[in-house]
Subunit: 347 residues, 2 copies
C-alpha cells in the first residue's frame, strides 16, 4: 500500500480561525452557515481571521453532520455531443447560483452502466440527482429511494411517471415536425431515428412521427424507416444511401445531429434542399438555425429544462423532501426555416 497522506501543510481549520478571532469554533461554524446569527463585532473578527488565514471550509466534514454535501449529480447519455450541452451548462450554472456544484457522468446510452455511476455518485453523498429520460434500471432507483435522495427525470415528459419529471413531450415533437411535412403536401416521407430500445426519447419521437402519418390516413412502409446513431458521419452515410436509392420527398430526423448529416449528404450529392428533399429535425441545436438552408426543427428548451431541474432538486433539499411527485411539461417551439418545401399552394 502506498502511503497516501497529504501533508496538512498550510490548511487552517475552523479551530485555527476561532483561536485567532478569539471565539469558539462553534461560533465560527455558525457564522459560516448564517452570518447574521453572530453579532456584528464578532462577525467582523471572524471575517478578518478567516481572510488572514485563508480559511476554506471543509464541506465534507460538515456533510457528515447535516447530511448535505452541496453537490448534485447529473447523469447524461453523453457529453461528447451537442445534444445535452446547453442543458448541462444551464444545470451547472443554476446550481452555482444556489452554491451547489455538479457531479456529472455519462453512461453512453448504456442503462447498465448507469447503476455503477449512481452508486459512485451516492458514495460521494450527492444531495440529489437528475437522470435523463424515463427508462431506468430499478436497482439505482432503489438505492436512491432507500437513502431519500431526490431524483428527477429530465428531458422527456410523462404525466404518469413514478418519479418527478421535467421535460418536453417528445411524442408531440415527432408529431409536430411530421405534421408540418404532411400539411405541406409530402406523402413519401422517410424516418431516421436512433435506436429506440434503450432510449425513451427517441421512442416517443418516433411514435409521434409515425402516429402523424397514420392519423393522416396513410401508412409508413418498413423500407422508409431507418435507425441511426446520433453521429453526423453515420447519418451522412446512411442518407447518401437513401438518396441514391428510391428517393423520398422528405425525411424526418430523430434529432438535429442526424439532420445535419442528412443535409451534408444532400450537399455532397448535389441534391437540392428543400427543392429535391425536405428535412426536419428535432432539438434545434447550435448551428441548426445558421445552416443553409436553415433547418426546420422543433426547439426543446434545453437551458430551461436544465435550470428548472437544478432549482427543483435544490428545492427538494431545502423545503424538506419529498414534495409530491410533479410532472412539468416545457413548451416546444416549432421553428419553420428553409429546409422544407411546400408542395401544396397556400390556401
Amino acid at each position: 500500500m502506498t502511503k497516501r497522506t497529504r501533508s496538512r501543510k498550510g490548511a487552517p481549520g475552523i479551530v485555527e480561525v476561532a483561536a485567532r478571532a478569539g471565539v469558539s469554533p462553534a461560533t465560527v461554524s455558525r457564522f459560516f452557515n448564517d452570518p447574521d446569527v453572530v453579532r456584528p463585532p464578532t462577525k467582523k473578527r471572524i471575517e478578518q481571521a478567516a481572510a488572514e488565514l485563508g480559511y476554506i471550509r471543509d464541506r465534507m466534514a460538515s456533510a457528515m453532520h447535516n447530511r448535505f454535501s452541496g453537490t448534485i449529480g447529473l447523469i447524461v447519455p453523453t457529453i461528447d455531443n451537442a445534444i445535452f450541452a446547453e442543458m448541462v451548462d444551464a444545470f451547472s450554472s443554476q446550481l452555482l447560483t444556489h452554491d451547489r456544484t455538479m457531479l456529472i457522468a455519462a453512461h453512453g446510452y448504456d442503462l447498465q452502466r448507469e447503476v455503477g455511476i449512481v452508486r459512485s455518485l451516492l458514495e460521494r453523498r450527492i444531495d440529489g440527482i437528475a437522470l435523463v429520460g424515463l427508462d431506468h434500471d430499478a436497482v439505482p432507483l432503489n438505492m436512491l429511494a432507500q437513502r431519500d435522495v431526490p431524483v428527477i427525470s429530465i428531458w422527456n415528459f410523462s404525466e404518469t411517471s413514478a418519479i418527478p419529471c421535467i421535460g418536453a413531450d417528445n411524442f408531440e415533437a415527432g408529431r409536430l415536425v411530421t405534421d408540418h411535412l404532411i400539411e405541406r403536401g409530402h406523402s413519401d416521407i422517410c424516418f431516421i431515428f436512433a435506436e429506440t430500445e434503450t432510449n425513451d426519447r427517441a421512442r416517443a419521437r418516433k411514435a409521434g412521427a409515425l402516429h402523424a402519418v397514420t392519423s393522416s390516413g396513410s401508412s409508413v412502409p418498413d423500407h422508409r424507416i431507418f435507425t441511426c446513431p446520433y453521429n453526423i458521419g453515420a447519418a451522412k452515410e446512411l442518407a447518401a444511401q437513401i438518396l441514391e436509392a428510391d428517393r423520398p420527398s422528405a425525411v424526418v430526423c430523430g434529432n438535429d445531429v442526424i439532420s445535419h448529416g442528412v443535409l451534408y449528404a444532400c450537399q455532397k450529392l448535389k441534391v437540392d434542399v428543400p427543392g429535391a428533399l425536405s428535412i426536419v429535425g428535432i432539438g434545434d441545436f447550435r448551428g441548426s438555425a445558421d445552416m443553409e438552408p436553415g433547418l426546420t426543427t422543433v426547439r426543446l428548451p434545453a437551458r430551461q429544462i436544465g435550470a428548472l431541474a437544478a432549482d427543483a432538486l435544490v428545492g427538494m433539499n431545502e423545503t424538506g423532501f419529498p414534495p409530491r411527485p410533479f410532472h412539468l411539461k416545457v413548451e416546444l417551439n416549432f421553428m419553420a426555416r428553409g429546409s422544407v418545401a411546400n408542395f401544396r399552394p397556400r390556401l
Copy 2:
C-alpha cells in the same frame, strides 16, 4: 433556519456491516480499501453482509482521514459548445476508470469567475484540478498550492509554464493552417480570431497565423483582422459582411466553430468554397469532416488531452505529489480537406 436533517432511514454504515459479518468495523474498512488484506473467509462474509444491507461507502467520511475525496475538478471556459466536449468526455471517462469522479464548472471566459469556482471546488476537497489554458489569476493558484492540491493546465502547451501542462502548440496550429494557405498561393488572407485578451489559446493561434505570413515576407493589413466570439451565428454574420465588402481569397478561423459560421455565410451568399473563398479552421470538431466541402483544419487530440490529464492528476495523488513539473506536447494533425483551393500548380 429551516430544519435540514435528512432521515437516516435505511442507510447502513460500516458498523452495521461489521456487526452482521461478525467482524470489527476496522476490518470492514480495510476490506473496502484493499480487499486482499483480509482473509478469504472474512472477505466473503463482509461481501455478503454488505450486499444484504445494501451498504454504500461514505467517501466523505473517509476523506476526512486520508485527505482524498476521490473527486477531481475540471474548469473549462464553457461546456455549452463543441469546443471542449470531447475533452471533457474523455477526462470524465478516464476518471471513472480510476474510480474517481469529475466535478466540472464553467467560467464563461471570465478569469475572475474562476477564483470563486476554484474556491468552491476546494471546499469540496477535490484531489486535483485541471484548468484550461495557461493564463490564471494568482489567487486561485495560491489557494491550490497552499493546500498541495495538484493542478494541471491543459489545452495549451508551453515549455516554460510554472504549472505542469498537457496541451497542443497553438502557435504551431495557427502557423500550420496559414502556411497551408500560403503554400497554395493565397496572398490575400483574412483572419478571424476570438478575443485574445483573456484567452491564451486564441492568442497563440493568432500569433502563429500572423507569424506565418510575416515570415513569408508579406504582412497583414489591419482591416484583414477580425475578432469574433466562438459562436456560429456571430461568425456567419461577420463573414457575411466580409464577403460583401472587399473579399479576400481565404480566411483563417480561430477555431472550427467560426469556420462553420463562415462556411454557412458562403453558402447563403452563394460564394463558392473553395472556388471563391478558401476556409481553414483549428480544432477539427464534430461535423468539420462531414460538411461540404470538408473543412481543412488541424486536429487537436482533444480526447487524448482529456485522458492524459486525468491520468496525470490521479498519478500525482497516488505516487505522492509533487512530480517535477512536466510539459507534455500532444501531436497536431493537419487535416487537408476540401475547403481550400490551390492557386499554385503542383510542382
